[in-house]
Symmetry: C2
């Protein structure tokens, strides 16, 4: 490991070809924000875009805006803008609903298409909403069940009864990245489909859905895509599968002719059939600016910076916090993880988080024992990484987290 000090860190920032992208975001002065994988920061252009949509479009042209300002095409337009970030074609991606609702749509549709196969295969400790939705789908469809096996055993567990394999590409807690190509190939060999959760991948690591032969995927708009709190989510269905899947949420926006007002549901051709109700245009206007943050960015440089940020963080924690109770629970190989890193701290991870937040360093607590640090290559600087590790060392060395105030849990963390 090279020896790093503040000067070498500042030299990394000075040499960063993407350092100007930070100026596109509102980065709060008083914070060292390492939680862009929970909520991405505000792009400076978002307020103007949302204000224009509200005042000129809704305020000025009211309902006619659906045509005049192309509101009706926003789900497809935003999907097409996300597609290059995840290795998909424009016609394979659409923005709609929440990630949870999209898991439901694709998982239920895929289970139905898989006929008599009864198993939804996932891993224990997968992001909870994926497991919860899978349990709901199994209960609703009857004669289906959710089976969970450790990620390392997934490939061996896929069999002739596996309808769908439901996995998160980059694990929300550990940051561990799964081998999308290998797992997809193994599933296909047994006739199973795979649904990938890209919430912690899209915009943070290279994703090549079509190169991996992927079937289905969903993802989130408010993490690395910077679309704002609760931003609309996206979904991907490989073109070859689109006509064979029917969304169980057969709302009017997914109808072949929504304004014919026919009594019978006929799904739209293509990806549009996975829309359901009327989408929030204000929320999509904000998401559009989040996605636009990537414009003109060399993605290879972005992924490289992401790896470098998290690797620098691990090296600095190793150097500064040795013997202070932290245990790395993310892979050490930067190619084997996403753009966040988690350390366990026995029973005190929650209080350590609170002590960091009180000092302006923003990680996330993830129950029961993880402190998670996210690195958004568009705006996180190497100096952020340095500051965070300085504060982390101080909090641990001074046992600052033992202060009673930090032990009290709030409703959301």
């Amino acid at each position: 490991m090279m020896l790093m000090n503040l000067s070498t860190i500042q030299a990394l920032d000075a040499a960063d070809p993407l350092r100007h992208k930070r100026d596109d975001f509102v980065v709060p002065d008083h914070l060292t924000y390492l939680d862009g994988n929970s909520l991405g920061l505000l792009p400076k252009s978002t307020l103007e875009r949302v204000s224009r949509m509200i005042c000129r479009q809704w305020g000025g042209d009211a309902v006619m805006s659906w045509n005049i300002h192309g509101w009706i095409g926003l789900p497809q337009r935003l999907g097409a803008q996300i597609a290059p970030l995840i290795g998909a074609e424009a016609k394979e991606v659409i923005v709609a609903d929440s990630a949870s609702v999209n898991v439901f749509k694709l998982l239920a549709a895929a289970c139905k298409a898989q006929g008599s196969r009864t198993t939804i295969l996932s891993e224990p400790g997968n992001f909870p909403t994926d497991l919860y939705i899978a349990q709901g789908v199994a209960e609703l469809l009857q004669d289906r069940h959710v089976r969970t096996v450790c990620a390392e055993e997934i490939v061996a567990a896929i069999d002739a009864d596996t309808a769908v394999v439901l996995l998160t590409h980059v694990h929300y807690k550990s940051g561990r990245k799964l081998d999308m190509a290998a797992i997809t190939a193994a599933a296909h060999a047994k006739g199973a489909l795979v649904l990938w959760d890209l919430c912690h991948s899209a915009g943070a690591v290279p994703v090549n859905l079509n190169a991996c032969g992927a079937d289905l995927a969903i993802g989130c708009g408010y993490k690395f895509l910077n679309g704002g709190p609760g931003a609309p989510a996206f979904l991907f269905v490989a073109e070859a599968l689109q006509e064979s899947l029917r969304s169980p949420l057969s709302g009017w926006m997914g109808h072949a002719a929504p304004f014919a007002f026919d009594d019978d549901y006929v799904p739209a051709r293509g990806i549009g059939r996975f829309l359901c109700g009327t989408p929030s245009i204000i929320a999509m206007a904000a998401l559009e600016q989040g996605i636009a943050s990537f414009e003109g960015t060399d993605l290879e440089l972005l992924w490289q910076k992401a790896r470098q940020l998290s690797q620098t963080f691990i090296e600095l924690v190793d150097a500064k916090c040795s013997g202070l109770g932290l245990r790395l629970i993310s892979p050490r190989d930067p190619y084997a993880r996403g753009s966040h890193v988690s350390f366990a701290h026995d029973e005190d991870a929650y209080a350590v988080c609170q002590a960091l937040i009180a000092r302006g360093v923003i990680p996330d607590f993830r129950a029961p024992d993880a402190v998670r640090f996210g690195f958004t290559p568009l705006y996180t600087s190497f100096e952020d990484v340095w500051k965070a590790t300085e504060t982390l060392r101080d909090v641990l060395a001074q046992r600052a987290w033992e202060e009673p105030a930090y032990q009290v849990r709030a409703a959301v963390t």
Copy 2:
């Protein structure tokens, strides 16, 4: 019928105790807007509220805003604000997802709870998304089917096999209002549940869910609630039913302890179990201002004005457009309809609509033959009603709608 001219109309506006409410909205100068039941106009306070949320909350406090600014409680808070408009308790209403997604949640949950009963009963020509979602639920659950009978025959059609009756309180096209209390009582007598679609009712006519013994309802945020295009929707579950229903969309926001990150789904107690994924905070901020438009308004006066506006419209059309090809398809009794009125015009309703829009009068075309005029008592004036009928008479008398440009259909109308 009293004889009306512009002076008597202006006298109605002068005497309107709610006329000052119009000042709370951005009413485009160049439009006579009678489409608030498709998209409500922009409240003047919305931009400031949304900007503050974006800049100070998201921009300033980022992820901590979930606690600091109470984002996590917005679905319940907004539900509580809608409750008085629909005759419900605060704890029975929540804001979430779209109206279509909410129909799915409640309909699937109710069908499951109804055990072996197999029929979802609705009416032909119900708002399409209700029928489409019902078809999706029936297909997904198997051994269920959707039966449609005319509204007048609904009560007689409810039997021991009826799981759920799915009806729209105020019909989207005709404006016909159903007798919620009578239908609910008839359904309960046969052991059936009723799910009411309030999209064209909430904020436009009195709704008394609990007084009617209602079970379930959903509604829309972007029509009379003025929440903005594609605003989040709401749902109502009577308190006594909440614990017996499980949402099929069992996402993490409806979990009893979403931040415990347990692997198994356990529904929250109460109305919160009907949440699914992370909701858009920006969209909810806009909706909150829409609902706030009702603050300090005497609802009885509001409903009275709504009836008076649509009644005046019908009387003026009768007087001015007699013999010009229009046929009223809404009830003449203002207590038997909502706050919109539709006229059929044989094969030319679409072109008539386009000719009106070209002249700044904004109705809605509803296939195949209806021109629909909506009256939002918070901002529609009697002079708007006068102007619209003057233009309507001119368009019809001059056969302006025969111009070829008006015959070409756009993607959305």
